[in-house]
């Protein structure tokens, strides 16, 4: 059986095996035909992803490409749940796109990555209605973002390449007949969306603008806020608004394709290499892009004593505050709590020596545990976390995904995520103490209800760091790591020392 699949794989290769080493040969030789194919797909820089890719990629590429795209989609989803508008989302997503999924340039590798990753994620997200909707929503937004990043020439080129039947422009006579109503409809959009503040400018633009006539159901999002003129069951869509139409076309095509993909998914069952990856990607993958090194630690102001100080403690996320509370009350933490807190503190820059001081103190000052007992029972554990004992592994602070994957805290345990583990009453109490308003609290509780705990946490961060974090220049990405919460909060404070 194993041989069979190998044979099948090699028979699919359209080049000889002696060409070089795996991966290399796909990238390196990249037959002229492949380049030509992707050049034609991306001639207009964007794609509706009509045909599945046929070439070969390595397993490594398969996973890395998919994860990179997934990160962007999850970021988009988080923005949407936090009610960001299009402009804000663009500001947040754009740097990510440029880093991991650059497009809009002449690079075969980037084009392939975009194309393949889209189709790989289709495999992950076609399994259930819920996943499909999630995927379509995020991909459609990504499509809109990218369309907006194109030059207007490229936009026109792209639209022409689609050849959509519903894109029928009205005749000049019809436009002339309806010009009063059409102008009434688009005038304020020209002013606020295209920044044409001068009446004559708007009129000139209107004169040149073409209108598309289509059943109003096709652009239903524009009907509710009266962005289109309606007559006889048809909507008259100005060309500058056509992105909405394209996006809904994109979404409905993708939805249909996903259903087809789902039907064909069982064929994949014979492939034991891909399934685990797919399973892994679609099941509760959250972004934890946190790189501890990206925040400087040179201050060295994190010590066994200062971690208690208000100056430092104000930046702790709720889960850490909860752990400190438990530690203070019991002069002890059980294993999972110890791990979560000690690795967090290590992450914010508490040195091994200071950590020993901190934990010795915290455990012995209640009088139940003597220094001897601490040294005997617990010291090894904390030193191990710092890579000073045993296999000497450098442990990383837990991200939210790790925290959420551990067993829930039992009575007398303080690890875990308060947004998941607290009851509604306790959580709203704590949030009220953090000076959140009633509506803000109910927004957070809403996210918790939907089991979107990291979004709840990000919301709390935004509410508590209100004015500061809304500045466009700031990093506003999703928070899925307690240390990220801490570092970002501190950074914000440092930037405006006056307040």
């Amino acid at each position: 059986m194993f041989r069979q699949s190998k044979k099948r794989a090699s028979s699919r290769k359209n080049f000889s095996v002696t060409d070089g080493e795996d991966g290399q040969l796909i990238l390196g030789t990249s037959s002229a035909s492949e380049k030509k194919l992707y050049d034609s797909i991306y001639a207009s820089k964007l794609s509706f992803y009509e045909l599945p890719p046929q070439g070969e990629i390595t397993l490594d590429q398969f996973e890395v490409w998919a994860i990179d795209r997934l990160k962007i989609l999850l970021e988009i989803e988080s923005c949407v749940s936090r009610n960001k508008n299009m402009k804000e989302i663009e500001a947040i997503i754009k740097p990510h796109l440029q880093k991991t999924m650059p497009f809009n340039m002449d690079n075969l590798e980037a084009k392939k990555k975009d194309y393949y990753s889209h189709f790989i994620l289709r495999l992950c997200f076609c399994r259930s209605q819920e996943l499909r909707e999630k995927f379509v929503r995020a991909e459609t937004l990504l499509f809109k973002l990218r369309f907006n990043m194109l030059t207007s020439q490229d936009q026109i080129k792209f639209v022409q390449s689609l050849n959509l039947p519903s894109l029928q422009f009205i005749s000049d006579e019809e436009k002339e007949k309806l010009k009063v109503q059409l102008y009434q409809t688009v005038s304020s959009q020209l002013q606020f969306q295209l920044n044409l503040h001068d009446e004559t400018q708007r009129e000139a633009y209107f004169k040149r603008e073409k209108f598309i006539k289509l059943p109003f159901e096709d652009v239903i999002e524009l009907v509710g806020n009266r962005q289109v003129f309606l007559r006889g069951g048809y909507a008259y869509l100005p060309q500058f608004q056509q992105l909405n139409l394209l996006a809904s076309e994109f979404a409905s095509k993708l939805t249909q394709d996903l259903i087809v993909t789902q039907r064909n998914l069982p064929q994949l069952n014979e492939d034991d290499r891909l399934l685990p990856i797919l399973q892994h990607l679609s099941s509760g993958y959250t972004i934890s892009d946190f790189q501890p090194d990206q925040y400087s630690k040179e201050d060295g102001d994190i010590t066994a004593n200062s971690v208690y100080s208000a100056d430092i403690a104000q930046h702790y996320p709720l889960c850490v505050k909860n752990l400190f509370r438990g530690l203070r009350e019991n002069h002890h933490l059980r294993y999972n709590g110890r791990q979560q807190l000690s690795l967090f503190l290590k992450g914010i820059g508490l040195s091994a020596d200071e950590a020993m001081k901190f934990w010795t103190n915290a455990f012995t000052n209640g009088g139940h545990i003597t220094v001897d007992k601490f040294n005997k029972d617990y010291r090894y554990n904390f030193r191990h976390n710092y890579g000073l004992e045993g296999t000497r592994i450098k442990y990383k602070p837990w991200d939210c995904r790790t925290i959420l994957s551990k067993p829930r805290p039992a009575r007398g345990e303080y690890h875990g995520c308060p947004y998941r583990d607290y009851n509604v009453e306790k959580l709203s109490n704590d949030l009220a103490q953090m000076n959140l308003t009633k509506t803000q609290i109910s927004a957070v509780l809403d996210s918790c209800q939907k089991t979107e705990y990291t979004i709840a946490c990000t919301q709390v961060f935004e509410y508590t760091h209100g004015s500061a974090s809304s500045r466009a220049s700031e990093d506003q990405t999703h928070i899925a790591h307690p240390n990220l919460y801490f570092e970002r909060s501190r950074l914000l404070q440092k930037q405006q020392p006056s307040s």
């Binding site: 005038s187 239903i220 009266r226």
Partner: protein, 413 residues
Amino acid sequence: MDESSREKNAIKTPSASDMQYYYQHMFPFKVIFNWLNHSPKAGRDIINREFAMAFRSGAYKRYNSFSSVQEFKTAIEKANPDRFEIGAIYNKAPKERDSLLKTEMKPLEKELVFDIDMDDYDTFRTCCSGAQVCEKCWKFITLAMVVVNTTLKEDFAYEDLIWVFSGRRGAHCWVSDRRARILNDLQRRNVLDYVNVVRDRNADKRLSLKRPYHPHLVRSLELLKPHFAKIILEEQNPWQDDNRAFETLLPSLHDKNLIEALKKYWTENPGRSSRDKWNDIDLVASKDVKVNKKQDYIIRLRECKADLIIATLYPKLDIEVTKQTIHLLKSPFCVHPSTGKVCVPIDANFSPDQAPRLMDLQKEMENNGNNINKTTLQPFINIFQEHVNKIMKHDMGTAKRERAEEAKTSLEF
């Protein structure tokens, strides 16, 4: 029976046996059945249609469904509800719901409905309040019907719509066009938002609609404007009351100085009529308020006045009813439990005292030998029947076209 007890009889609410009589002898089950079925032959649209019954006790029984007129009539007669409501067409018959998984029941279609209630006009209504209604304030509803009708017909190209008296102080609009029936919730929400202009019923905020007006608003304003002077300034005259004028008239103006000047003037000259106050706005504006850009100022003021006309007279919709496919709404020809009036189809010439009352209908039946054709209900049934005939004709037309389409595509293979 002497005169006074007859008088008493007339206002008493219908009893259980009155309702029983009405369902047995008068309620036009067949017409309603065909109306919801869109075809004379019982099909999915009626078999999978949800009905809910509301009882005197306050009990409410959802998920009933009927596969024939006979079953429909028998079931309603037997249960004898105060009123019953109409819901969505599902993929399965709602009465089988207990034997199905919850996730298997999916709403597919329903008429697009709108609900207007007089309560929402109370800010500017002085002739009556709460549940009361009279000829004067019914004009709000009549005007609302005209505006909504025009919008649905001209903008959305819906044809098969009918207005039904809700029995006391409101009206329901049922749109039966196929294209309207198949709207999903998102689409319903958007159609509603398009039609629903005055979203915030608090008069203490300025409406400040976008300029220039969307063509739909331009046309609505043209429809409403001719009635503003009579209905608001004369008949309702809500701003004669100075406090009410401060609370609901002044906040809709754009200029603080003007508002202060008017407040001062009206405090010094209390009790001026709505019409006087309306004119005062222009007078005070041109006299007291000093502005550099006069032209601009006048335009802004005129815009505020236009917004006010919209705020007072534009149809005020109950949004919950329209938003969801599965929402239930009282069936036409039900009897309102507290007024005894029948929910009859209406047009712009209707006023609430024209609605037949169950008590009177019973007497008419007694007097003419139980011949329903001679009662005052019959003309309303006829109007409805005509409407149903029109829908069935349209629907059969679409069905035929669709079959032809199908035949054409299947030939290609």
